[in-house]
């Protein structure tokens, strides 16, 4: 079972901001098609970890390894900038909590979805538009909004547009930073349902950062609990949440209100 090679792995990650240990001896593995949730409270280092894993922030020590579709290992922080940039636009995706960070607000929905395709060299307008329509349907955005600006979309729609824009190049690995943060509950439910089905159907590996344990339980296969820069517990999601071993995990789980 564990013979299958990992998609992304990290060892010995350390990062301090002045006196604060943002990451302390963090290691993780992720296999193709599986979702790992990183949970913790504010200041736990979970977003920092996401940024280090995705190459956006360099650690003080440690390595992040990524295996490309051909099977070759790459040290993410030793990759040349153009290669990392290309990676972010093809085999990787990044879903931000605020969709406006990833969308071009003055470009139509169709243009937003088609951009990654055009950046990769797609030059047939009809095909690009057809792909955009297909993806808008998959994220449940009405087809007749394809030429509308994201400014005219609700928050939930903007987030779904961001997801379409990210998935259009069929990335094998997607980083998500609180994708449902700040959304109304019903909107959140719809988005989670969408993420769940897309990820399962497309066999995407996901590193999901969230402070919401219910989201982790719904979506993730495995979970890592972070406290002050360290991963204090990790394992099967239902096992860690139903039978927490570490004191902090027990505190976290017992603090959650159940609707």
């Amino acid at each position: 079972m564990s013979d299958e090679p990992t998609l992304i792995s990290a060892r010995g990650l350390n990062l301090t901001f002045g006196a604060i240990a943002a990451l302390a001896d963090v290691q993780m593995d992720l296999w193709p098609g599986e979702m790992l949730a990183i949970v913790g409270e504010s200041g736990s280092g979970k977003t920092t970890l996401l940024n280090v894993l995705s190459g956006r922030l360099a650690p003080d020590a440690g390595t992040v390894w990524y295996r490309d579709p051909a099977g070759h290992l790459h040290d993410v922080h030793a990759m040349p900038a153009p290669a990392l940039r290309t990676l972010h636009r093809s085999d990787w995706g990044f879903v931000h909590q605020d969709p406006r960070q990833n969308l071009r607000m003055t470009v139509s929905a169709g243009g937003n979805v088609g951009e990654r395709l055009m950046a990769q060299g797609a030059r047939h307008y009809g095909d690009i538009r057809a792909a955009a329509l297909d993806w808008l349907a998959q994220v449940e955005i009405d087809a007749n909004r394809i030429d509308d600006l994201p400014r005219t979309f609700s928050g939930g729609m903007q987030q779904r547009l961001q997801i379409a824009r990210t998935l259009v190049t069929h990335p094998r690995l997607v980083f998500m930073d609180e994708p449902t943060g700040g959304l109304d509950v019903s909107v959140q439910a719809r988005l989670l349902d969408l993420i769940r089905s897309l990820v399962a159907r497309l066999r995407i590996a996901v590193v999901l950062v969230t402070h919401d344990i219910a989201v982790a339980r719904l979506l993730a296969h495995r979970i890592a609990v972070m406290q002050r820069g360290r991963i204090v517990e990790t394992g099967l999601t239902d096992q860690v949440l139903d039978d927490p071993q570490h004191p902090y995990t027990q505190l976290l789980v017992s603090s959650v209100l159940n609707a």
Binding site: R85, G111, E115, A119, Y125, R129
Partner: protein, 288 residues
């Protein structure tokens, strides 16, 4: 002219600009920063083009200067006189006779030769200027050949207007590598740049950039496979010489809606008339 170096600029400045030009020629379409000097005319009046011309002019050169295709507009006349004074070179209005052609916003209709150099005046060298406000980001995009954003703009045009709506300063890919602004020449002129035998130099004085297209270089206007680029001109013939394949200016002739379409390239029109071509309005003139 007493007190001035040949062609106004001092030799060190010319060397500096020539070094920049060499770099520009070595990397077709890539913008090279240069130390633009204070010229005796304001920014926006062709200081970049003038500095490039000044750096390459020799005593045996023959200089033509055009502004929107015309040799006789105020700016063209001023610049031509400037070089006549400071360099003492022979000047001409005939495209075929010139060795250096400085132009604002047009390429001559007559095909250029390998022994000629055309110098373009450029207001804004950055083709991504309106799409990406950050210069740090546009430099990165050029460095990584990351031009998806430009195609997004073309996509938006087609989605909104049914066709690409850019009529001048239409972006091109040079040597299949760099995205370039051809300066505000009409899109109609873009095909002339492709595999041109003459050397093409571009100077932007206010923005302090130089770029170049060496002779016989591929220059391709951006488009989509199913929305290919088309060079469009007005569906009229020149009223004076009858040409149907040149770029036309629309001239208002009276206050009763009278209009006349004439070749923008004054030398081209004059040559055709000298050969005996007559347009519909040319006949009328002769009759009066």
């Amino acid at each position: 002219m007493k007190g001035y170096n040949f062609a106004y600029l001092d030799e060190q400045t010319k060397r500096m600009i020539r070094r920049g030009l060499l770099k520009a020629v070595a990397i077709p379409g890539h913008q090279v920063p240069f130390g633009s000097r204070e010229m005796p005319l304001p920014y926006g009046w062709g200081t970049g083009g003038i500095q490039v011309t000044a750096s390459i002019l020799g005593p045996n050169d023959v200089l033509k200067v055009i502004d929107q295709g015309a040799d006789d507009t105020t700016n063209a006349v001023s610049i031509r006189r400037f070089f006549a004074k400071t360099a003492g070179v022979k000047t001409t209005t005939e495209t075929g006779e010139a060795t250096v052609i400085q132009t604002r916003h047009r390429i001559p209709e007559k095909a250029l030769r390998a022994d000629q150099i055309i110098v373009y005046q450029v207001p804004q060298p950055e083709p991504l200027f309106r799409l990406e406000p950050s210069r740090v980001e546009t430099r990165r995009m050029h460095g990584l050949a990351d031009y998806g954003l430009m195609h997004v703009k073309l996509y938006e045009d087609i989605a909104r207007y049914g066709q690409i709506s850019i009529s001048y300063d239409y972006p091109v890919m040079v040597n299949e590598r760099y995205l370039m602004s051809p300066s505000p020449i009409p899109a109609f002129d873009n095909p002339k740049m492709d595999m041109m035998p003459a050397l093409q130099l571009f100077g932007a004085g206010r923005e302090k950039r130089i770029y170049a297209i060496p002779p016989w270089t591929r220059v391709k206007s951006l488009d989509f496979e199913d929305h290919p680029f088309r060079a469009i001109n007005a569906p009229h013939a020149c009223g004076l010489c009858g040409a149907t394949d040149s770029y036309l200016d629309e001239v208002v002739t009276d206050d009763r809606g009278g209009r006349l379409f004439v070749c923008s390239d004054t030398d081209h029109c004059a040559s055709r008339r000298a050969e005996g071509h007559v347009g519909a309005d040319g006949l009328r003139e002769a009759a009066e």
